[in-house]
């Protein structure tokens, strides 16, 4: 049904994560996407100079489930335990536009032609907005992977990019879903456990405190931001209705009305834009909520490794006492220690770069938002001044 190509919007849309796609050796983007009913088919386009790929440039169609598959396989890879794994893109949510479409269909008989056309237009715009957003989010996910020195070499990632047949990623059956659910529960139990585990390293201790606190606050902020932008959109819609009501009459000899109509229309646009800016902030917050969660996951994995390490130490001591299986216990302990050290080292690196990334992204987003707010408010000002002058001089 709807297809979109995203050249000019790429610039605008990239404030969530910066410094991606800088490396020309592996450039990924989603130039195109098709929406069929509920399913969105993304066209993943890759340009690469790496020899590990068969061709220098290629495209494959992918669906949302395949992205999730990729994310899950990476999460489940032991080697990446010490890395922050880019959060999976959320499922495309067309609920809003779909509701609107439903309402439109129902109210069709009671509306005038112009109103109907207008609402249809709005509906399409909203649909398009949701569409663009989901494309962007999926794209950013892939780009995070491609710009990371370790992930970009992942075999599954390459398969994802290259394999032009259907990946046959079957949907998780009931058992797996339940297993996943159970795992989440264990994880929350872990949370409790891990907050209790004694931390040796001060860096990680600080990080833990910070991340736990920050994660709850940012989740809250992103929810509130969403509510706020939705109200703002409602206000904009109201101006739309007002101008519609004014329009639909022969208020032709009334310049005041006419002026008001044009002002309302433009006010609506301005409000829309304002809410779009706020929406960016909301998206930033939402994205970082997920990212923070990924960072937290890293900490859990490390904490679990720490716990394992301690357990293996204890087991070794016990084995030594008993005099049995010492070699095995020693081996185990060595492995645990290695794993733990590796995790700590890469974890530290990841978390530090995460900090920097976050600050930069916030800065960019806030500056952009502010500048656009100023620009649009100034536009409003001049428009309003003009209208007032005209009305007064009549």
């Amino acid at each position: 049904m709807t297809s979109i190509s995203e050249d000019s919007d790429k610039e605008k849309v990239r404030s969530v994560s910066v410094d991606l796609n800088n490396d020309a050796s592996l450039v990924i983007d989603i130039p195109d996407a098709l929406c069929e009913r509920d399913k969105v088919k993304f066209t993943v386009h890759t340009k690469t100079t790496l020899s590990s790929f068969q061709k220098p440039e290629f495209s494959v169609p992918r669906q949302h489930e395949e992205f999730i598959w990729l994310h899950d396989t990476i999460v489940e890879t032991e080697e990446y335990a010490g890395l922050i794994i880019p959060p999976a893109p959320p499922k495309p949510d067309f609920e809003g536009p779909r509701e609107k479409m439903h309402k439109l269909g129902e109210g069709e008989s009671s509306m005038t032609k112009e109103e109907y056309a207008k609402m249809k237009q709005e509906l399409e715009a909203e649909y398009l907005a949701v569409f663009k957003k989901t494309v962007q989010v999926h794209e950013v996910f892939l780009q995070r992977l491609s710009s990371h020195p370790i992930f970009r070499k992942d075999r599954n990632f390459q398969i994802f990019l290259e394999y032009d047949q259907d990946l046959s990623v079957r949907r998780k059956n009931a058992k797996e879903m339940f297993g996943g659910f159970f795992k989440n529960m264990v994880k929350s139990a872990d949370e409790v456990l891990i907050s209790g585990v004694k931390e040796v390293d001060e860096f990680f201790e600080q990080e833990k405190t910070f991340l736990l606190d920050y994660s709850s606050k940012i989740k809250d902020a992103s929810a509130k931001a969403e509510k706020m932008t939705r109200s703002h959109k409602n206000v904009a819609d109201d101006y739309n209705h007002i101008s519609g009501a004014l329009n639909s009459t022969a208020a032709d000899n009334n310049t005041a009305f006419k002026k008001t109509i044009s002002v309302c229309v433009l006010q609506k646009l301005e409000d829309r834009v304002a809410s779009d800016q706020e929406l960016k902030l909301t998206e930033l917050l939402r994205y970082y909520t997920r990212d923070i969660q990924a960072a937290k996951d890293l900490l859990y994995r490390r904490a679990r490794a720490l716990a394992d390490n301690e357990n293996s130490n204890k087991a070794l001591d016990k084995a030594r006492l008993k005099g049995k299986d010492i070699a095995q216990a020693e081996e185990n302990q060595k492995q645990c220690l290695q794993k733990f050290d590796k995790l700590s080292e890469s974890g530290k690196k990841e978390l530090t770069s995460f900090k920097a990334r976050r600050v930069v992204a916030f800065r960019k987003n806030l500056i952009e938002m502010t500048e656009l707010e100023i620009k649009h408010a100034k536009n409003s000002v001049s428009l309003l001044q003009g209208s007032i002058e005209i009305l007064n001089s009549n």
């Binding site: 910070f210 606190d213 920050y214 606050k217 940012i218 809250d220 902020a221 509130k224 931001a225 509510k227 706020m228 939705r230 109200s231 703002h232 409602n234 206000v235 819609d237 109201d238 101006y239 209705h241 007002i242 519609g244 009501a245 004014l246 009459t249 208020a251 009334n254 005041a256 009305f257 002026k259 008001t260 002002v263 006010q267 900090k355 600050v359 916030f362 800065r363 806030l366 500056i367 502010t370 500048e371 707010e373 100023i374 408010a377 100034k378 409003s380 000002v381 309003l384 001044q385 209208s387 007032i388 009305l391 007064n392 009549n394």
Partner: protein
């Protein structure tokens, strides 16, 4: 208000010291920050009386930045010195213009009396209402003349009493130069039922003549009960403010109507210290019930009357009025929704602001943390802006629309009155016809005794018919005039309010720009 200590009685017609005064009220379109709660006589610095002198003085009226209530203006018309012999109060038309009464509107004023004028700058000299007769002006332009000043404000709501017998008392202040009042400034306290009582009295007298009577604000059981019970929350404060503003607008409309202003009941309402309690405004009282019954029967009547219109003007006008009422209702619904959504936006912004502040306090990067707290403050300011804007949305737009929806209803009543008069005429004519037939029958049956009776009857009904014909003519004429006046006023009103609303939007956007511009360096300082 300029000093009006001793009041000089109006100059008599033979007094050479005619001073045609015209007040200038220029709508100061640069009013800013004046949206919330217009206080009375904001134009305290206004110069109400400016004496006129020789016409060669060009712009006679000093425009010392005078600005009073933004909705009371007037232009002046030529004086007619000959008519000064007449009673000063007959046919005084009151014009409240809202446009910038530039000097053009006033230059014509002083006509022939100018030479006789003293150029004394006596601030408390009186304004004489100009007398415009129908002969000299066309119907449409009749409204464009007068000089007078009457400002009304409703302020200081106070709760009197306690519990369910409590009521709000409002201060009604009048500032005027009209000679028919005892003082130049005076105020009385009135309660809501007094306003309703005034409406009843006016309506009883004038609606039959085909005047458009401004309807009073609506009763509200819920709102008043909250106030009575003593809930000191923002919603009851809002209710009181809404009512106060509505009462003020109501009175202003009443006195803007030339014939209503002359009504002694109106004067009494404004001047008299203690008014007898208007009891028959209660819904469940005897008169109240009677009213409801009457209204019902009227509705039935309306359906059955089919008027034979010789003049298409009325039919098309009525249609226009009905269409417009529909439009305004739709608009009002949309604006209502706007107000509610904006209030929602306001509270959501406040919540968000706090949330951002929390986030900022947790943030470890100090520059980002500072920026986030600044962002929280910006959002806080936005909340206030939204709040103010919602206030403007409501009081400037929504209330205007609601008022006019009711006013259009009053206009329709006016048309209905005319129909009723016409119906009465029809009935009289048919009765007359019957009487004539009866007489003819009697003649034919040759019963002379009853003939005299029949002849008397016929005479009686003939005079009735001609009386009703005159009535109908008069009502038709009045209705036409009223509608024209109403339309003019409506156009003015709307324009003025729309300008005001745009100005409020402008103000908000200005402040927005400032807020964000202040924030920008903070955002850039993040490192």
């Amino acid at each position: 208000m300029s000093g009006s200590c001793g009041r000089i009685p109006p100059p008599f017609p033979d007094n050479e010291d005619q001073e045609a005064e015209s007040d200038t009220r220029v709508l100061d379109s640069d009013e800013d920050d004046d949206d919330e709660g217009e206080d009375i006589f904001t134009g305290a610095r206004s110069n109400p009386i400016t004496p006129t002198s020789a016409p060669d003085e060009g712009d006679i009226f000093s425009e010392e930045g005078s600005y009073i209530r933004s909705d009371v203006h007037h232009a002046t018309n030529g004086l007619h010195p000959d008519e000064e012999e007449l009673d000063l109060f007959t046919e005084a038309t009151v014009e409240l213009t809202l446009t910038n009464t530039t000097s053009q509107g006033r230059r014509e004023i002083i006509g022939p009396t100018a030479s006789a004028c003293n150029t004394t700058q006596v601030p408390n000299s009186i304004l004489k209402p100009s007398i415009v007769t129908k002969t000299t002006e066309e119907l449409e332009e009749e409204e464009s003349g007068d000089q007078f000043e009457l400002n009304i404000a409703v302020t200081n709501p106070e709760k009197i009493g306690d519990g369910m017998n409590a009521y709000m008392s409002y201060k009604v202040s009048t500032q005027t130069t009209l000679p028919m009042f005892l003082n130049k400034t005076f105020s009385v306290r009135r309660r809501f039922s007094d306003f309703l009582g005034l409406y009843e009295k006016i309506s009883a007298k004038h609606s039959l003549l085909g005047c458009i009577i401004p309807p009073p604000p609506q009763k509200s059981v819920v709102g008043m009960t909250k106030v009575k019970v003593g809930k000191e929350d923002s919603s009851s404060a809002e209710f009181v403010e809404k009512r106060r503003a509505a009462l003020e607008r109501y009175l202003q409309r009443v006195v803007a109507h030339p014939s209503l202003l002359q009504d002694p009941d109106v004067r009494e309402f404004l001047e008299r210290d203690e008014l007898p309690r208007a009891v028959n405004t209660q819904t469940l009282s005897g008169p109240g019930l009677l009213k409801m019954i009457n209204r019902a029967s009227d509705a039935v009547n309306k359906m059955t009357i089919k008027m034979n219109e010789s003049d298409n003007w009325f039919e098309s006008k009525l249609q226009e009025v009905e269409n417009e009422e529909q439009l305004l209702r739709r608009l009002h619904a949309a604006v209502d929704s706007l107000v509610n959504h904006r209030k929602e936006l306001c509270s959501n912004t406040a919540v968000f602001s706090k949330s951002v502040a929390m986030l900022g306090s947790v943030e470890e990067n100090s520059a980002l943390s500072r920026a986030l707290s600044q962002l929280a403050e910006v959002e806080d300011k936005m909340e206030q802006l939204h709040q103010q804007q919602a206030f403007s949305d409501f009081f400037i737009l929504a209330e205007l629309l609601a008022d006019y929806i009711r006013l259009l209803g009053a206009v329709r009543c006016c048309f209905e009155q005319r129909m009723k008069v016409w119906q009465r005429l029809q009935e009289a004519q048919s009765t007359l016809q019957k009487k004539r037939e009866a007489e003819a029958k009697l003649l034919w049956a040759n019963k002379p005794e009853k003939l005299q009776q029949a002849k008397d009857d016929i005479n009686e009904w003939e005079s009735k018919v001609s009386q009703y014909e005159r009535d109908f003519e008069r009502v038709t004429c009045t209705v036409r005039k009223e509608v024209l006046r109403f339309e003019k006023e409506k156009a003015r009103d709307f324009k003025q309010h729309i300008v005001k609303y745009l100005e409020s939007l402008l103000h908000t956007q200005h402040r927005l720009v400032k807020c964000w511009e202040a924030f920008l360096p903070e955002a850039k300082a993040i490192a």
